[in-house]
Symmetry: C2
Subunit: 364 residues, 2 copies
């Protein structure tokens, strides 16, 4: 949230009676990585459904992890969000398609193609075949994502952070077995399991990348901006690194509320500690908040991470953060919206503010 | 075979004793469509194996049926030959992969993509993924075919007729249900099952197509040129229509022997009658031979098609032509080689001619 505005937030009165008149949906914009974000967002939609709270959600997804395998364009983070919200995700692993088979991958291996450390399931392959075909026809990543979502109906507007190519590469503190010292993020993450320490992350193409159409509008027009529990270095980091995007979030009138991806000094999922180490940041919930210091208004941490002396900003709330099931995720998402409501709605008074109404209608 | 040479063929003496010294392989060049050619060629290799006859076989495959489905480049005729000779074909239907599943196709349909009349199996999809990726990397169709054959080891050198795009389109005598009057060959063949009469076949791109590297050399250098039982209009026809190719076959020193794809007035397989009707040719074994009149030296027909008054040229042999199993196909292929041997080997006398030796070593 804009700091100038944050100093005089039009905090909405609490305790007002719920409205029964039709209310405008709350405009939520979230910056998303993969599994953590997808589960959080599913919780957000569940929370809204359970409370009858109309939401208009835009998800800005990380595309710096994207890669091309056997000529097929794969967007792991966008697909994880799409499959999870669309009901097609393999629930236990958190990514990929449910009831998956691996015939195509087996055949690619027989041809000496594919990558043995990144196996595509058959159902998943179809997504990449369609994506690759549409891109070859000249459609943009934004248009392709929208086309894929026509099938999945994720209940959110899913946007890539940029239509321009950005790729996270990892400068290793050491080498891979075969001597490489710089590898694509996915090779470091999936093949090497982040076991070779990272010295630095390079975002190739980032300087020339522009926010995808709709991204800046979604930030400017949001009533609430959420940072789900995603990797701050390689998921949220690249999104905020798209020129203009971090400034837009900072300048937005909406409160910015994040959810810690770290609980008790360890990442909830994945290997965020290896990423944080590379940039010299402690694997600690409050240290992660420090990465967003210029834009964060509210921060949810786990009970075990409640700071002894809470800072003035961001406003910290402690609650159980393990997304053990959709209901738990819904509770966390609800807490994020609640915190956003206490931090101030959009500028303008409550009668002008459909969001205010929605927030008022939201039980505390 | 070159007619000037054919008038004075160096016919090899028959009945010579088999040679036991190592012999040079017989250089066979075949022009191939899909299933019929693939089964004939498998018979040819089986025949050679059974007789200890070394062969060096080049297959020039039709690529005018190729099409792009969901961005994947599909070469039906080349793949049918490759799968059949490589032991991966679905035997009953004669094309596609054995033990096939259809997960990707099902998913493509869920995305509203793919073509419901041309379903790709999952194993088959992998071939097209690899092909498409290699083409996107800048490799030529010839190079891609060779790369795919590294896996399949078909026992022949498989060449596309041309690296340039040629597509058979069908001008309909009527329209499809949705009003089209010109459709891609595969749509006419697979979707419409050739039920809407064809008025004309258009080979788009043919004027500018060049024979693929190695094709003319394989024709010039052949000891025997074979026309397997393929569709004369839409399989062998496009190959011979590549500028320079028909002339090369006509000028070649090797005898040219064909196998009728028509038995008893009906195509053995497929809908060649619908193709022949479009060009005003009777569905008759000898009428098909007439399409090759300028280049054919020998012609195998089924017993039911033995002409009452055989022509001087081509020399016709009648034998059972149904390829009911690989053994039957081997017998037909053997008969084709036998007939070629009686029609004359390459120029030069037998001592210069490894082919002559091979043919001599071949029991009659």
């Amino acid at each position: 949230m804009d700091v100038a505005r944050a100093e005089h937030p039009h905090t909405l009165p609490t305790g007002s009676p719920s409205l029964t008149v039709p209310i405008q949906p709350l405009r939520v914009t979230a910056l998303a990585g993969g599994v953590g974000a997808a589960r959080f967002l599913r919780g957000l939609l569940l929370h809204a459904r359970e409370r009858g709270l109309p939401l208009d959600v835009t998800v800005v997804g990380n595309t710096a992890d994207d890669l091309t395998i056997s000529g097929l364009r794969v967007c792991p983070d966008l697909d994880t969000v799409m499959y999870t919200l669309g009901g097609g995700v393999e629930e236990r692993q958190g990514w990929g398609r449910t009831e998956e088979t691996f015939t195509v991958a087996e055949e690619l291996r027989a041809y000496g193609r594919g990558r043995d450390w990144f196996t595509l399931g058959d159902r998943d392959v179809a997504t990449h075949v369609v994506r690759t075909a549409l891109l070859a026809e000249g459609r943009t990543p934004t248009q392709v994502t929208a086309a894929l979502c026509e099938r999945w109906q994720p209940g959110v507007r899913l946007l890539p952070m940029s239509d321009d190519p950005v790729e996270t590469h990892v400068v290793l503190d050491g080498t891979t077995g075969d001597g490489a010292t710089v590898v694509h993020f996915q090779e470091w993450w999936v093949r090497l399991r982040a076991a070779v320490p990272a010295r630095e992350f390079l975002l190739t193409g980032i300087e020339r990348a522009r926010p995808a159409p709709g991204v800046l509008d979604a930030v400017h027009g949001a009533d609430v901006i959420l940072l789900p529990p995603s990797n701050p270095v390689v998921s949220i980091g690249p999104i905020l690194a798209v020129p203009g995007l971090r400034d837009a979030v900072r300048a937005a009138s909406a409160p910015v509320v994040g959810v810690s991806p770290v609980i008790g000094g360890a990442p909830v999922r994945g290997m965020a500690d290896a990423c944080l180490a590379a940039i010299g940041v402690e694997t600690d919930a409050m240290a992660v908040a420090g990465l967003y210091a210029d834009l964060l208004d509210g921060w949810l941490v786990d009970l075990v991470d409640a700071p002894g002396t809470p800072p003035d900003r961001p406003v910290v709330r402690a609650l159980p953060l393990l997304m053990t099931d959709p209901g738990a995720a819904a509770a966390i998402a609800g807490a994020a919206l609640d915190l956003a409501a206490t931090l101030g709605g959009p500028t303008g008074d409550a009668t002008d503010s459909p969001t205010g109404a929605a927030l008022l209608g939201e039980p505390r």
